[in-house]
C-alpha cells in the first residue's frame, strides 16, 4: 500500500502535515546542532523538565503560528482586490465568533499554565537528598566554589561571607574557581552568594538560572546524569567583563570524583621540598633552581606597588616560602590551579601559552579585571607559568 500519494494531498492535508513536519524537522535541527551549551540537550533531571516544557510550548506555538499566519496569507491571496471583485459585505462582527476565539485560546493557555505550575512546583525540591554542598560565590568577574561536608556548614559559611558575626566558621574542604566538579547521578546543593552586584548562575545543559543577589540567601539544586564537561556562565549583566564570567561544570563517576576530592584536599605541590629553608630575604634562588621554584619565589616575594604581588590576592594552601604564606582572597584560590581547564572566568584556557599571555598583561585579555599588569619580565612569566602549572 502506498502511504504517500502526492496526487491525493489536498490543501487541508498539506497544512495538516506541515505542522508535524515542522516539529520533526525542528527537533532534528535543534537537537543536532545545539553545541555544548544547548538547553534542549539536557543532561540532568532539572534541565530535562525544562526542555520538556520547551517542546510542549514549541508545538502549541507552532500550531497557533501556522493557523494564524495561514489565515492571514490565505486572506491576502484570496481577497486581494481584483478589477472585478465586488464590494465586500460590511460586516461589523460576530459575537459567537468572539466568544469562541476567547474561550479556545483560554483553554489552551490554561493547559499550558497547569503544566507550568506542575513543573514549577515539581522542580523546587530534589527527589533525593543532596550529597554535595557547594557555596557558589560570584565575584566580578569569576566564580568561586567552596565545598562543604554538610548543608549546615555551608550555611554558616554563607553567613560569614555575608559579613555576619559567626562563631567557629567551618573551613571549606575544597576551594576552587572557574571549575565546579560534581559526581554524576547525585543531587548537588548550591548556596549562591554575592557581596558585590547581581550575578546569575547558569549551566544550560544541567539547570536554568538562579540569580545571585546580594542580601538574599538564594539556593538551587541540580544533578548531572552523564559524565562530561558542561559550560556555564553568568547570565545577569554585572559590569565590564560580564562576558568573561564563565566556568565549567564537570561531572564524573563517583570513583573519579572521590579521587578528585582527595587530590584537591592535599596541600599544594611544592617545588621547594629539598630546600625548605629559603626565604624572600635571601633573594632570587638562582639559575640552579628549577624553573618552578624560581616561579614560586616570584609568586611569594615579588613586590608590586609595595605589596607582595601575587600572594596579596591569591591563596596557595599548604605552601610557604620561609615563613610567608599565600592567603590572599581577592583573586581565585590557586592551590590546585594546574588541574583546571580555564583561566580567569574562561577568558583563556589553562595551558602554558595562554597562561603566558595572561601573566604578561591581564588587562589586555580582560580589560577592567582586578589583576593589574604587574610588569613581569618574560623570564619571570616563564618561571611563574612553570610554578603555577605544577600546582596539580
Amino acid at each position: 500500500m502506498r502511504i504517500f500519494s502526492p496526487r491525493k494531498l489536498s490543501r487541508a492535508k498539506l497544512i495538516g502535515w506541515s505542522i508535524p513536519a515542522i516539529v520533526v524537522l525542528g527537533v532534528l535541527f535543534l537537537a543536532g546542532c545545539g553545541g555544548d551549551s544547548s538547553i534542549i540537550d539536557p543532561q540532568g533531571p532539572v534541565a530535562l523538565k525544562q526542555s520538556d516544557l520547551f517542546w510542549f510550548i514549541f508545538i502549541v506555538a507552532t500550531v497557533v503560528f501556522v493557523a494564524v499566519e495561514g489565515v492571514l496569507i490565505y486572506s491576502v491571496v484570496r481577497f486581494r482586490a481584483r478589477p472585478n471583485s465586488p464590494e465586500p459585505r460590511q460586516i461589523h462582527g460576530n459575537t459567537r465568533l468572539e466568544i469562541a476565539w476567547t474561550i479556545v485560546p483560554s483553554l489552551v493557555l490554561f493547559l499550558v499554565l497547569g503544566y507550568t505550575i506542575y513543573t514549577l512546583v515539581g522542580i523546587q525540591e530534589p527527589a533525593n537528598k543532596a550529597q554535595t554542598f557547594v557555596n557558589v560565590v560570584g565575584h566580578q568577574w569569576w566564580w568561586e566554589f567552596r565545598y562543604f561536608e554538610s548543608a549546615g556548614d555551608a550555611q554558616v559559611d554563607v553567613n560569614a561571607l555575608n559579613g555576619q558575626a559567626v562563631q567557629n566558621a567551618p573551613t571549606p574542604t575544597i576551594v576552587t574557581a572557574d571549575q565546579l566538579v560534581v559526581p554524576t547521578g547525585t543531587v548537588v546543593h548550591l548556596n549562591l552568594v554575592s557581596t558585590n552586584v547581581i550575578h546569575s548562575f547558569w549551566i544550560p545543559k544541567l539547570t536554568g538560572k538562579t540569580d545571585v543577589v546580594p542580601g538574599h540567601d538564594n539556593h538551587m539544586w541540580f544533578q548531572a546524569d552523564t559524565a562530561g564537561t558542561f559550560p556555564g556562565a553568568c547570565a545577569e549583566f554585572c559590569g565590564d567583563q560580564h562576558a568573561h564570567m564563565r566556568f565549567e561544570a564537570q561531572s564524573m563517576a563517583m570513583t573519579d570524583y572521590t579521587a578528585w576530592v582527595t587530590a584537591q584536599q592535599k596541600p599544594a605541590h611544592d617545588p621547594d621540598t629539598n630546600t625548605p629553608a629559603l626565604t624572600c630575604d635571601q633573594g632570587w634562588p638562582g639559575n640552579d633552581a628549577t624553573l618552578a621554584l624560581q616561579g614560586k619565589y616570584y609568586f611569594f616575594c615579588k613586590t608590586f606597588a609595595g605589596n607582595n604581588a601575587c600572594i596579596s590576592c591569591h591563596s596557595v594552601y599548604g605552601s610557604t616560602y620561609g615563613n610567608i604564606k599565600a592567603l590572599g582572597v581577592v583573586g581565585p584560590n590557586l592551590t590546585h590551579f594546574g588541574s583546571r581547564d580555564l583561566i580567569a572566568g574562561g577568558v583563556l584556557n589553562n595551558n602554558q601559552d595562554d597562561l603566558t599571555k595572561w601573566l604578561t598583561d591581564p588587562q589586555q585579555w580582560k580589560p577592567g579585571n582586578d589583576m593589574p599588569n604587574l610588569g613581569l619580565s618574560p623570564d619571570e612569566v616563564q618561571a611563574l607559568v612553570a610554578y603555577l602549572e605544577s600546582l596539580q
Binding site: 535543534l30 545545539g34 553545541g35 555544548d36 551549551s37 544547548s38 523538565k49 525544562q50 516544557l53 520547551f54 514549541f58 497557533v64 503560528f65 494564524v68 489565515v71 492571514l72 486572506s75 491576502v76 481577497f79 482586490a81 464590494e87 465586500p88 459585505r89 460590511q90 460586516i91 461589523h92 462582527g93 460576530n94 465568533l97 468572539e98 476567547t102 493557555l109 499550558v112 499554565l113 507550568t116 513543573t119 512546583v121 523546587q124 565575584h139 566580578q140 558585590n196 552586584v197 547581581i198 547558569w202 544550560p204 545543559k205 536554568g208 538560572k209 540569580d211 546580594p214 538574599h216 538564594n218 559550560p231 556562565a233 549583566f237 559590569g239 560580564h242 562576558a243 574562561g346 582586578d370
Partner: protein, 561 residues
C-alpha cells in the same frame, strides 16, 4: 501659514517676528499638528541614532573575539540602544502620532492644553540630547536599559576602593529619564483630557476610532506607571549622592526593591509601546480591506483589559531572582491571562481582512506585516511566561529575540504603516509606493534574518549583554546571520529615507482623502488648517466619513452603536 495677513511690527527682534519666521513658527508653535510632526521627526531621528548603535553592536558580535568596541563602550552602546529606542524613538513617535491624528479623529480643534503640549515636546528633545551627549561627556549610561542596582550604585563593590558605578554615566541616565518621565506625564494627562472632554458632537466613547482608544489607555498606563520609575530613580539618585541605602544590601537595603519598582513601571511600559501599534493596525486594516473593523467592541475593551492586567505581571521579569513559588505561580498566571485579550485582537484583525477586498498599498503591507511578526513575538512571550523554561532562557538571546519581534516586528512596523498611511494627511503628498514595497521586503527579510537566529542562540546558551564570545560552532554562524540581517534592515531604512526626501520635494498630489478612508481626519484638508475643521462635523457612527460618502447606506442605519 497661520500668520498670513498679520501685521508684523518693525522691530529688530520681537516675539511676533520670531513666530512669523520660517523656523520661528515651529519654535513657538502650540498647534497640535506641528507639535506632532516635531515629535515624530525627533522620534525618527532617534530611531536612526538607536539603529546606528544597533549596527555597532551587531558589528562587534559578527564574529567571535571581535574588537570593534571596548567592553565599556559596548555596554554603553546596548544601554543607550535600548534606552533610545524605547524612550526616544517609539514613545515620542507614538506621542507625535497621537498628537497629530487623535484630535482630528475625534473632531477636536486642538489638544486640551496646547502650551503644556509644547513644553512636553521640548522636554523630550532636551532630554534626548542630554542623554546622547553623555557619550562625549565622560561616558554614556552603561548598566543596561533597566539599570539594575547595585550595579548602578556609587558604593564600594565588594573590592576595596572599587565603586560599582563610578563616573556620571548613571547620573545622566537618572536625570534624562526623570525629564522624559515628566514630559510623558504632561503629554498623557493632555491626551486623557482631550479624549475625554473634547470629542465632537455625537462622537461617543464607543464611536471613537481604536487609535484614540489605545492612546487613551496608553496615557492612563503612563500616568499610573511612570511614578514608579520616578520614585525608583529618585531614590537611586539619593543612594548615589545623599548617602541613603535603599538598594544596598550591606545596610539592610535590597537590590530587588529596584527590580520591583522598575518593572512595575517597565511592564506597563511595554504595552505603552504596543497599544498604539494595535491602534494603528485597527485603523489601517479596515480601510484597505474596505470593511469596518471586525468586533470593534472587543478590540477596544481588550485593550482596556490589557491595560489593567499589565499592572499585575511585573515579576515575570524576575522569575530567576528567587521569589517564593506562590508568587511565581501568581505572576505566571497573570502573564498567561494577558495573552487572551491580545489573542482577541489578533483574531479580530484576521476577521477584518477575511472576506474583504484588500487594497495592497504599502501601508497595508506594513499593517499585515505587523500582525504576522508581532504574532511571533507574542508566542515567544507566552513561552517566556512558562517559569521553568524561563529559568533557562531568561537573560539569554531568546529574550532579545522576543524584544525585537514585539518592538521591531511590532511597534516599528506599525510605525511604518502609520507613516505611509498618514503621510498624505501631514503633507498633502504621497510616499512612493514602489520604493515603499522594496523597503518593506528589506525590513521583513532583514528582521527575520536578524532576530530569528536569536531564538536559537538563546536555546543554544548564549547570554545577552556579552561584548564578545569565544568561537563556538553553534553560535558563530547564527551571529553572523543576525549581523547580516541588521544591515539588511539598514538598507531598508535608507530606502525609506530616500523615499521620504523624494516625496517631500514632490508635488502635492495626494488630495484630502487618498485612501477613501472612514474617519474624520480625512474629512478635512491635507494638511489640515490650524483650526482643523471649518465646521466641526456631527458624528452618528464609528465611520463618520464613510457615512458621509455613502448616504444611501450609512453605518448608523445598519449597525447599532
Amino acid at each position: 501659514m497661520a500668520v498670513q495677513g498679520v501685521a508684523i511690527p518693525e522691530r529688530a527682534f520681537s516675539p511676533e517676528r520670531l513666530s512669523a519666521s520660517k523656523i520661528g513658527v515651529w519654535l513657538t508653535t502650540t498647534d497640535h499638528k506641528r507639535i506632532g510632526i516635531m515629535y515624530m521627526l525627533t522620534g525618527f531621528f532617534f530611531f536612526l541614532v538607536g539603529g546606528i548603535e544597533a549596527l555597532l553592536i551587531r558589528t562587534q558580535l559578527a564574529v567571535p573575539d571581535n574588537v570593534v568596541l571596548s567592553p565599556d563602550l559596548y555596554n554603553q552602546m546596548f544601554t543607550m540602544h535600548g534606552t533610545t529606542m524605547i524612550f526616544l524613538f517609539v514613545m515620542p513617535f507614538f506621542t507625535g502620532l497621537g498628537n497629530f491624528v487623535v484630535p482630528l479623529m475625534i473632531g477636536a480643534r486642538d489638544m486640551a492644553f496646547p502650551r503644556l503640549n509644547a513644553l512636553g515636546y521640548w522636554l523630550v528633545l532636551f532630554a534626548g540630547i542630554f542623554l546622547s551627549v553623555s557619550f562625549f561627556a565622560g561616558g554614556a549610561p552603561n548598566a543596561g536599559w533597566f539599570s539594575y542596582a547595585p550595579l548602578t550604585e556609587a558604593i564600594n563593590c565588594g573590592r576595596p576602593g572599587a565603586l560599582c558605578s563610578p563616573g556620571q554615566n548613571m547620573d545622566f541616565w537618572i536625570l534624562g529619564i526623570q525629564l522624559l518621565g515628566l514630559s510623558s506625564i504632561l503629554g498623557s494627562l493632555n491626551f486623557v483630557v482631550t479624549i475625554l472632554r473634547l470629542r465632537a458632537p455625537g462622537m461617543t466613547i464607543n464611536r471613537m476610532p481604536i487609535l484614540a482608544w489605545m492612546t487613551m489607555v496608553t496615557s492612563f498606563l503612563l500616568l499610573f506607571a511612570l511614578p514608579s520609575l520616578t520614585a525608583a530613580s529618585a531614590i537611586l539618585f539619593f543612594d548615589r549622592h545623599l548617602g541613603t541605602h535603599f538598594y544596598q544590601a550591606a545596610f539592610g537595603g535590597d537590590p530587588l526593591l529596584w527590580q520591583h519598582l522598575f518593572w512595575s513601571f517597565g511592564h506597563p511600559e511595554v504595552y505603552v509601546l504596543i497599544l498604539p501599534a494595535f491602534g494603528i493596525a485597527s485603523e489601517v486594516l479596515p480601510v484597505f480591506s474596505r470593511k469596518p473593523l471586525f468586533g470593534y467592541t472587543f478590540v477596544a475593551w481588550s485593550g482596556v483589559a490589557i491595560g489593567f492586567l499589565s499592572f499585575t505581571v511585573w515579576a515575570h521579569h524576575m522569575f530567576a531572582v528567587g521569589l517564593p513559588v506562590t508568587a511565581q505561580s501568581f505572576f505566571a498566571t497573570t502573564t498567561t491571562l494577558i495573552a487572551i485579550p491580545t489573542a482577541v485582537k489578533i483574531f479580530n484583525w484576521l476577521g477584518t481582512v477575511y472576506g474583504g477586498k484588500l487594497n495592497m498599498t504599502v501601508a497595508m503591507y506594513f499593517a499585515i506585516g505587523f500582525v504576522a511578526m508581532f504574532l511571533i513575538g507574542g508566542l515567544n512571550g507566552a513561552a517566556l511566561a512558562i517559569v521553568p523554561f524561563d529559568y533557562q532562557v531568561t537573560d539569554s538571546y531568546f529574550v532579545v529575540s522576543h524584544i525585537h519581534y514585539v518592538l521591531f516586528g511590532g511597534a516599528a512596523l506599525a510605525i511604518f504603516a502609520a507613516i505611509f498611511y498618514w503621510f498624505p494627511k501631514w503633507t498633502g503628498k504621497l510616499l512612493n509606493e514602489r520604493l515603499g514595497k522594496i523597503q518593506f521586503w528589506f525590513l521583513i527579510v532583514g528582521l527575520n534574518l536578524a532576530f530569528f537566529p536569536m531564538h536559537l542562540l538563546g536555546l543554544f546558551g548564549m547570554p545577552r549583554r556579552i561584548y564578545t564570545y569565544a568561537s563556538n560552532p553553534a553560535w558563530d554562524g547564527l551571529n553572523l546571520l543576525a549581523t547580516i540581517g541588521a544591515f539588511t534592515i539598514a538598507v531598508g531604512v535608507l530606502i525609506f529615507i530616500v523615499n521620504f526626501f523624494m516625496s517631500i520635494r514632490g508635488p502635492a498630489t495626494a488630495g484630502d482623502d487618498p485612501w477613501d478612508a472612514f474617519t474624520l481626519e480625512w474629512m478635512t484638508t491635507s494638511p489640515p488648517a490650524v483650526y482643523n475643521f471649518k465646521k466641526i462635523p456631527t458624528v452618528r457612527s464609528r465611520r463618520p466619513f464613510y457615512d458621509f460618502k455613502h448616504p444611501d447606506n450609512p453605518d448608523w442605519k445598519s449597525a447599532h452603536h
